[in-house]
Assembly symmetry: C2
DNA sequence: CACCTTCATTGACTCAGGTCAACAGTTCAC
DNA sequence: GTGAACTGTTGACCTGAGTCAATGAAGGTG
């Protein structure tokens, strides 16, 4: 069991807003689990035995073709929810991109709890709707955008989801972040190869829209221009 | 208001399983509306004023770049739900591909009703989770599959969602259906141009996996081989 | 510190799918 | 039934991104 009262994501995860009793009860069902970078928690097509809240760390959701081509279909940040409630097999693999800490529930226990708690289901619905919107916008990127437009979109999205880059930029602060994905993974999210990712990053750097002080750090130097590129205008 | 008792999709839409009283109440909020082929009900970015159940007909959900490139992000069939509950602007346009009949609710009335009816929210959650799975599998197609693999995937998906092609095939029946999308729309779902769609269809026909007796009719002649192609094996 | 491994960049070349253009089949109006 | 307007097919050519291969830069390890 878990003590939810000091949970670092307690006010933004799906648990937020539950009554003290409900939270106590949910705490009895969950257990904290650490996973190491690179570790795969769930494999695509496996029975969906667990669901979890992300406490810290970043994970990827991915799907592969029969011959091994992989597409990353989601990137999951702290306070996000992972797993497929109310379904018997997992539609994608879940792999840690960094060391991570999760609050894990067996799916059956979670499903049962959710059925008793409409407010939890409501929050889950909100999140799922948001994820669906995000996935569909990514379909536009994958279906219609050029390589440089894709890279621009990714940089802005990651900047916003990691530390709220837009707000920083608006406040006049420098917009710098650590990219949690390596070049291969960036390619797998964007439907591009590692070489194309590298070339386009170099191009954006040459155009002074971004800077890349080292392999993981990204500085957004000209958000307006990058945003224009991302929107494919 | 609407009489739900004779609704043709009443047992498969989200309304299924509601109590007689709840259904009566929901019926008072909804109204039937006919839309003509080609008509756009909601524009991307507009305030999301309505949600609806599809009674008959087929509609597309689409998103565009600033310079007008369009991606179809969903195709909606009878008994499916459209609109974005609990959100103030629509993330995509909704356009009828055939004449269609809808059961429309104002979003505010629907949201209010849903909040009172956890079982409705639960059904909405199930559907949204399924849609999310579908969208993510489509991301694999858009990011990693070749043109012929995409076409094969689309033909099988439409065959299954229209008249349950898999079941027909298993029962030894001929697998024939009317494709609700024209070549341009097929391209817009698949992230391909109209010419590539046409060429790949001709190729599949030449390989005797399908037949195309006229521009809208598709016959699946060799489901096993088509399926293998779609899985990218 | 030197060595090794891993990850990223760059270059040369190829090719799947896009673009542009001609044409053929359907559908519909009159 | 004839012609006009779409919609789809086919061909020739082009190009953006993929492939293959060499090189370079960063960490990690003993």
């Amino acid at each position: 069991m878990t003590d939810c009262s000091h949970c670092p994501v307690g006010d933004s995860a799906i648990c937020a807003g539950l009554s003290a009793e409900a939270l106590e009860c949910l705490g009895h069902l969950g257990r904290k689990q650490k996973v190491r970078r690179g570790q795969t928690l769930v494999w695509e097509g496996d029975e969906a035995l667990v669901v979890a809240n992300v406490i810290s760390g970043i994970l990827k959701l991915s799907i592969s073709t029969a011959d091994g081509r992989e597409q990353i279909v989601g990137v999951v940040f702290p306070s996000d929810f992972i797993g497929r409630p109310f379904g018997k097999e997992s539609p994608h693999s879940v792999t840690a991109l960094t060391d991570a800490e999760l609050c894990v529930f067996t799916r059956s226990a979670f499903d049962g709890f959710a059925r008793q708690h409409p407010d939890l289901q409501n929050r889950l619905l909100m999140r799922t709707l948001t994820e669906l919107d995000r996935a569909r916008h990514w379909m536009l990127l994958l279906g219609k955008k050029t390589a440089s437009e894709r890279i621009a979109s990714l940089l802005l999205e990651v900047s916003d989801r990691m530390g709220d880059g837009a707000a920083k930029a608006a406040a006049g602060l420098p917009e710098v972040f650590e990219m949690p994905l390596d070049r291969q993974q960036m390619g797998d999210v964007l439907g591009l190869t590692i070489e194309t990712v590298s070339r386009q990053l170099t191009k954006l750097k040459g155009a002074e829209m971004i800077d890349l002080p080292n392999r993981r750090t990204v500085v957004i130097q000209d958000r307006a221009r990058l945003r224009n590129l991302a929107l494919a205008a």
